[in-house]
Symmetry: C2
Subunit: 402 residues, 2 copies
């Protein structure tokens, strides 16, 4: 019989996707659904960046160079330099979204069967990339009880074995919103240097830190050989649909290998590079508005959540996600119930059960991720729905607890 | 020591890339280089398609749905239906170029270590995708002596072993320009049905057939379960930089698996889908101009090549490539010599040595691929250079021969 490959069968359906039919059905019943479940920003894409595509003269839409347009790589290097990240254009491979940067990094740094250590909870797509590349993810548990800070270095060290090739951190973190400190990152890099491992650093949310300094893995002394920065313009400029990212490393052998993988797809998206190039020239003040707006939303949502009986919710320092532990038997059942059986004055809310962000079975079963990518009145309305849902939910437990 | 992965080291540099420094050096010496080495069409991208992007209202450039915009999938299905390919929107996954369609097809159909049978010569990037996915390419030799027609089915059958999972054909063929007949394709499909294999059909050059009918693998009875059509708008609409392709299959389990892989990168490029959607609505007559131009170029180049002493050159039926066997010791050395040591009245020509299109070591060592993507006067000038180069080249052999 003709069968899909084993890796094709092992590839999971995204957790978000599982709930979509229930959300669609709710909408068909006339219920308004507040989407807190995906990281699709609602902030306007910079008009100057859109205009760069719309006003360009395009006669023949040619392949761009494999590593990206030289002018874009120069401007992107300048953007990094403004952020204190001393990279050159040759250190940058422009990719089709941050996704392709993750794919190339796993292909270049690990062989099939090799192990990648990741603090959990982590961005669900990492699991999918690991299946696609035959890599084994080894989780190290972070906990809501200290706001998902970096687990102790000893917990990482004890997971290092003969097949370990790399550590992966997302900073600021998706899904937790945690922003790693300089000391935490330096400790991770030191561990990588000691054990000859790569440090993959997904910094998609760099601009969105609401307290303290932001530290990139490439800010650290000794980073050059070890660090691979995985980046994207998706969140930075509200341009998720552009599909422009970057793999940045000062390790020339690794950059050369990533380039050879990139040759198989000839070039990154061309139109969107025009947008990205114009965006890279925006002044740093461009981020002030979005950052202030996200911070106000975070404060509003955290305050609402912390006021709900039995809800545990640390204050995240960055990104636009909040993790919360809810007084429910099972967050996935609760999320489905909110869409399928609940409504409050014609409204309900769609949330992400956190189980999809954990590799350890059962972990995070009563946690959820909430994205604050809707405006403040909508956040208020969504929080009213959530509070009311928690009151009515038949599987409610006495209080949040492990 | 920190090392690039084995697969990263195994990933070859594209053959084109190896010659690029010599071409750059020639240009710096003031020599004009005619590029016959890459398949970057010079035909204008349809202005109506570019306008669709440039006139769209874009407030927030959001992720598009993972499988592509529903409106684009509908219009693309209608395009296929006009070509007699009876697929529905649900049979289509929109991808980041034909490249991503190849990647997903290999991931879904084969496991690491599985074998993919491909008639050689074949598109060089297949090798790169095979390295990335851990797939082993098993070549079946076609020959210039019958214009690179499909090798006998028995030659495929004897390569089928316990790890064989799929056959891959490119039709019209890159690099040979050969257009497979209905009988050849049906024989391949029958073989796949008998041995429970997938038939991957890369049809990037569908519109560019200059003689006889064009047959898609999806035109054949019995194709639904077995055939995966790999497609792109790159060549069809001169839109290589858009990076929009499609994976098309009527096998629902396979389409579902491809969708799960696609979820890891969330969505295909958004801006370029607007371009592709407008292009999909162009009338079939749109292709008349490009087709007539390519055919005139082909005829002109073939006539010139066949007039060169010792050159063997079949007439290709499609795409925009010509393969020729040259009276030289080694086509790679000749190509480098043309760039490094030769010029004719300030001009030279860059050609693709065919070795990069063969998996069998030594095969095609005196063959080259020439792309007719420059205008007719430039083709004349390039052919004068090539003829003169063949006259002067120190490694010239008596006549073309294996």
């Amino acid at each position: 019989m003709l069968q899909v490959s084993e890796r094709g069968r092992a590839m999971p359906l995204s957790p978000y996707r599982k709930l979509t039919p229930y959300a669609d059905a709710a909408k068909q019943r006339g219920v308004q659904v507040y989407h807190l479940n995906i990281g699709q920003p609602d902030i306007e894409t910079p008009p100057a960046a859109v205009a760069a595509v719309q006003q360009a003269h395009i006669g023949v839409l040619e392949y761009s160079p494999t590593a990206g347009r030289p002018s874009y790589r120069r401007k992107l290097a300048a953007y990094y330099q403004r952020a204190g990240i001393a990279v050159q254009p040759d250190d940058i491979l422009v990719t089709a979204g941050g996704s392709e940067a993750i794919l190339f990094a796993l292909l270049c740094c690990l062989n099939p069967g090799d192990e990648l250590i990741v603090p959990e909870p982590f961005y669900g797509a990492y699991t999918a990339f690991a299946v696609a590349t035959g890599v084994r993810i080894v989780p190290v548990a972070a906990t809501i009880d200290n706001g998902y800070a970096l687990p102790p270095i000893a917990a990482f060290e004890e997971k290092i074995g003969p097949r370990t090739r790399a550590l992966l951190v997302c900073n600021p973190n998706n899904p937790t919103g945690y922003v790693y400190t300089r000391a935490e990152l330096q400790a991770l890099l030191d561990l990588c240097r000691h054990h000859h491992l790569y440090l993959l650093s997904d910094e998609a949310y760099r601009e969105f830190c609401y307290a303290g300094e932001y530290v990139s893995a490439l800010h650290l002394p000794g980073a050059a050989e070890h660090v691979v920065l995985l980046d994207t313009i998706s969140k930075r400029y509200s341009a998720c649909g552009a599909r422009i990212g970057a793999l940045v490393t000062q390790n020339p052998a690794l950059q050369a290998a990533a380039f050879r993988f990139a040759q198989m797809r000839v070039s990154p998206p061309g139109l969107a590079q025009l947008l990205a190039e114009a965006a890279a020239e925006l002044p740093d003040s461009y981020f002030d508005h979005a950052k202030a707006e996200y911070q106000a939303r975070r404060d509003r949502m955290v305050a609402r959540l912390q006021a709900m009986p039995g809800v545990q919710c640390p204050v995240p320092g960055g990104a636009f996600y909040i993790m919360a532990r809810l007084p429910v038997d099972n967050a996935e059942r609760f999320a489905q119930w909110l869409l399928e059986e609940f409504q409050h004055q014609g409204h309900t809310v769609m949330i992400s059960p956190a189980a999809g962000f954990y590799a350890t079975p059962g972990a995070g079963h009563n946690e959820v991720r909430l994205a604050y990518v809707i405006n403040q009145p909508a956040i208020d309305a969504a929080m009213i729905c959530l509070a009311e849902g928690l009151r009515q939910y038949p599987g409610r437990t006495a209080a949040a607890g492990a």
